[in-house]
Amino acid sequence: MEINVLEKQYCTFYLCDLFLGIEVTRVQEVLKYNEITSVPLAPKVICGLTNLRGQIVTAIDLRRRLELPERPAEDNYMNIIIKNEESVYSFLVDKIGDVIEISEKNFEPAPETLKGVARELIKGAYKLKESLLLILDTHQVLNLI
């Protein structure tokens, strides 16, 4: 029982060379390419609006949000659909990874030396065998205003 309490599931994905995760409970679904209508005058991180079965969803480019280099135009992206409060958002990422279950004891909060946006957006990291899994704070990602 104890293990279950301390284990959390994360939906993982890649952005540039980063390996990131979002708590699986916050993810509604993962979608392939979806046409996006751009919104002029909007903040740059908002790439536009997309139609999710009749619902209008605001799409946020995580590369831009995390101030990473732009995604090459020919590269495909994936949509992670996130529910936040009453609204639904789509996070654009490079590639989707697995849903993984990790023990809480491998977690460490973000180091003090983390700079810039990463400091606000990344809660901390899980020490995996071969890499680090950075956990994204979805609330903060949407805290644009």
Partner: protein, 819 residues
């Protein structure tokens, strides 16, 4: 009592009360939460307000005490603790009990609530707050039984005297329980027999004995007494509820309609919207089919969809009179209680509004009306002194304009005293003295929208607690509307509310700019002008860089959509000189009362669209009103014509953001304010003359123009006044063909009469625009001879004329020509 009003009141108050339980508990956990406290306070306040005009005295006194207590909490006079929460929860329960009574028997019931009121009042004094709660409960219990025994006595005169003495001899605890028992009996039987009282006496003594021990133990006991009251209330409540059940059997008023969750309606609305879109696509396919059966079915589907859409729309649309009809009575009762005479006028009762909108504006409107009567309209004697009609007028007006619902509430009262507002704001430390010194009247006026602001000299039953205008604004803004104030000192106040019609299916024009489509609501659309490129090159002119088009003789300011949206890809054919052939599409739009032309790349079609709100991350882009999903599944943005007009400068932006907010910047004071007369010259340019130099404005028939020595002159006040055509005096920068010849004035001419020491001159202008006060920040770079230079006034470049040099030049011209 009006059944409808009462029912609305019950439904609304029940809803509010349910929220209140949660809010109170939340407040106890987090006593510092201002927003929760404000919410609770508002609920009490609006409940009290409603009780006031429904004549529900008991309910009003409970809510009044509760509100006082909350007010003290809000002003930090006392601190929140569990006792206050208990007392407030108790008050909520009592309110529920009274509501149940009102629902079943249309009266407030016979129970007495002075105990609760006293305990609320007791808690509301900083000193008492520290004293044991017991004190606050004691008088309540005593009152309780006294009143009840008195009632008993009056009902049964034969009651033995010793019985009532015995009742009075009971200790507090016993009295309280006794009162409860009597109450129960009254509720069940409605009569009281002496035997019952005796039985109750014994019962109360035995019951009290059980809890007596606890009374001695100090603080704990207070909680017990309180919880007993709670229990007794619940008991009474349950018996009331039984009564309600009985009543409901023969009662159908409440059941004749059902309340449907607005979310469900919204969902239905959205689904119908989707259905409409699907049908549109479907019909396109059908049009190429030849199968008669298929066509038949599709036509039926078409019809049904239309009807369904209409039906769903109707479920949500209600005439504004649904809320207005309660107002005459509100007005009557408020004015009566204030000894004022007020006549109510209503225009546009039939204006229909979406259900959500109607609900949301009801409270704000009531608040505004109360404010108008309480603070605005003066007492009859004062009105007499001011030479006003003794009877004040409160007028409500509703109408549709620009796809918005406009509601105006005007009174002919004293208006808002700007100085009083300033003093109050300073006193409450809402603004600093240095801010106050530079704030404009308009900004000062807007201060009344701050929470906790009230200029009423005393707190009255009706208004003056400062919950008014901030709630009004909050509620209106919640539904995407705006509130504006117009104030005439001694002439009254007009509150203007504009509410957009969102959440609806609207016909819209689909246009393209760059590679994206945008929707423009048809209500804003006046006409579409299409120009061939060669025409456009000639007909789109520029006034200092801002493009205009002459639409039937009037100048129409033009806005390029791609420039406004800052999309690089959109071409919008701004390069008029390019050799390619293309069409220029000008969409003539109406925003507020201005017209402007929007230039887009292409005009596609009209479509019925479902307006969906934008996410809050995108809410602060003023040019978009929402988004919609088109037939092909793509998302298209809906252009907010008013927002576009404002952001492009067609309409000067009304700065309704309060100045105390972080954007506060001290107004520039280095340039002087001057009064200017603005006019349009015949060459289309906008010019201004210092008003001090102008003696009169004249409108004369062109036939009055006579010739004298090669000059155009008119007879003016027994003098011969020469006419000056500015285009002939000012160095012309335009091609000669546009030069206006004096003799070809049409119909009437507009003259600005300028008087020198002894001579008058008439300056011929195309039209007078306005007289304004402006700060002159001259940019001399563009100055030509005869002008001081140009500056931007009301977002338009305006040349300021140097009259002295013009007159000098004119005189030399005459001299030269006469030689």
């Amino acid at each position: 009592m009006d059944e409808d009003i009462l029912r609305e009141f019950l439904i609304e108050t029940y809803e509010n009360l349910n929220k209140l339980d949660d809010d109170l508990l939340a407040l106890e956990k987090d006593p510092g939460s201002k927003s929760v406290l404000d919410n609770i306070f508002r609920t009490f306040h609006s409940c009290k307000g409603a009780c006031g005009f429904l004549g529900l005295k008991k309910l009003e006194s409970i809510t009044h005490s509760g509100e006082n207590l909350l007010g003290a909490l809000r002003d930090n006079k006392i601190k929140m603790d569990s006792r206050i929460t208990d007392a407030l929860l108790l008050a909520v329960d009592s309110i529920k009990k009274i509501l149940a009574a009102i629902e079943s028997e249309r009266t407030e019931g016979s129970s007495d609530y002075s105990g609760i009121i006293d305990s609320l009042n007791a808690l509301n004094s900083p000193v008492m707050n520290n004293v044991q709660k017991e004190i606050s409960v004691k008088p309540s219990a005593a009152n309780f039984s006294n009143i009840n025994t008195e009632k008993v006595k009056s009902e049964h005169k034969q009651e033995p005297k010793d019985l009532s003495d015995e009742v009075n001899n009971l200790n507090i605890k016993e009295q309280e329980i006794f009162a409860n028992i009597i109450d129960e009996i009254m509720n069940n039987k409605n009569t009281l027999m002496p035997e019952d009282i005796e039985a109750a006496l014994i019962e109360s003594k035995t019951r009290a004995a059980g809890s007596n021990k606890k009374i001695e133990t100090g603080p704990v006991s207070t909680d017990n007494t309180l919880s007993d009251i709670v229990n007794s209330d619940i008991k009474a409540n349950s018996s009331q509820q039984e009564a309600v059940c009985d009543a409901q059997k023969n009662q159908s008023v409440l059941d004749s309609s059902i309340r449907v969750n607005i979310d469900l309606l919204d969902k239905l609305m959205n689904l119908v919207g989707e259905l409409v879109l699907a049908r549109n696509q479907f019909l396109q396919i059908v049009s190429s089919s030849e199968d008669a059966n298929f066509i038949g079915i599709s036509q039926r589907l078409n019809l049904i969809t239309s009807e369904l859409q209409e039906g769903i729309m109707k479920t949500r649309m209600q005439p504004i009179n649904n809320i207005w009809r309660t107002f005459p009575r509100v007005v009557r009762e408020i004015s009566a209680s204030l000894n004022k005479k007020v006549r109510m006028e209503m225009n546009g009762k039939e204006t229909e509004l979406d259900k959500t909108v109607i609900e949301a504006i009801k409270d704000p409107l009531t608040h505004i009306i109360r404010n108008s009567i309480d603070h605005g309209i003066e007492e009859p004697e004062i009105r007499k002194k001011k030479n006003k009609d003794v009877e004040g007028v409160l007028a409500l007006r509703a109408f549709h304009e620009d796809g918005q619902v406009n509601i105006e509430i005007s009174d002919d009262g004293a208006g808002i005293d700007i100085n009083a507002v300033k003093q109050k704001a300073l006193q409450r430390e809402l603004i600093s003295a240095s801010q106050a010194a530079v704030m404009s009247d308009k900004d000062l006026l807007n201060l009344i929208f701050l929470p906790g602001f009230s200029t009423a000299k005393k707190v009255t039953n009706i208004s003056g607690r400062g919950v008014g205008m901030d709630v009004v604004r909050k509620n209106i803004e919640k539904i995407g509307g705006t509130v504006d104030l117009e104030n005439k000192p001694d002439g009254g106040t007009i509150v203007k509310i504009k509410i957009p019609l969102t959440l609806a299916i609207i016909p819209a024009l689909i246009v393209t700019c760059g590679k994206d489509s945008y929707a423009i609501a048809q209500v804003n659309l006046l006409e579409i002008v299409r120009l061939k490129s060669f025409e456009a090159r000639k007909k789109i002119e520029e006034i200092y860089g801002s493009p205009v088009y002459r639409l039937r003789g009037k100048l129409l300011p033009l806005v390029y959509l791609n420039k406004e949206l800052k999309t690089e890809s959109g071409c919008c054919h701004c390069d008029i000189n390019s050799a390619e052939d293309y069409n220029v599409n000008i969409i003539v739009l109406q925003a507020a009362n201005r017209q402007f032309g929007l230039i887009v790349d292409a005009i596609n079609d009209t479509e019925e669209i479902v307006v969906k709100p934008l996410d809050k991350l995108l809410k602060n882009i003023p040019v978009f009103a929402g988004a919609t999903i088109r037939g092909d599944g793509k998302v298209a943005l809906i252009i907010d014509v008013l927002g576009l007009a404002k952001s492009s400068g067609v309409i000067s932006t009304i700065n309704d953001k309060l100045i105390y907010e972080k954007n506060f910047s001290i107004a520039k004071h280095n340039s002087e304010t001057k009064r200017l007369l603005l006019f349009k010259n015949y060459d289309g340019g906008r010019m201004g003359i210092l008003l001090s130099k102008v003696s009169r404005l004249e409108d004369l028939p062109a036939s009055n123009i006579e010739k004298s020595g090669g000059l155009d002159v008119v007879q003016y006040r027994n003098q011969i006044m020469p006419l000056i055509n500015l285009s002939n005096i000012l160095p012309e920068r335009r091609s000669d063909e546009r030069k206006h010849e004096g003799s070809s004035y049409k119909d009437n001419i507009q003259l600005v009469v300028y008087s020198d020491e002894e001579k008058s001159y008439g300056i011929v202008v195309e039209s007078i625009i306005d007289i304004i006060e402006a700060q002159l920040e001259l940019q001399n770079a563009t100055a030509r001879e005869g002008t001081f230079g140009s500056c931007v006034i009301l977002n338009k470049v305006t040349e300021i004329l140097d009259m002295d040099s013009i007159i000098k030049k004119f005189e030399t011209m005459i001299m030269n020509s006469s030689k």
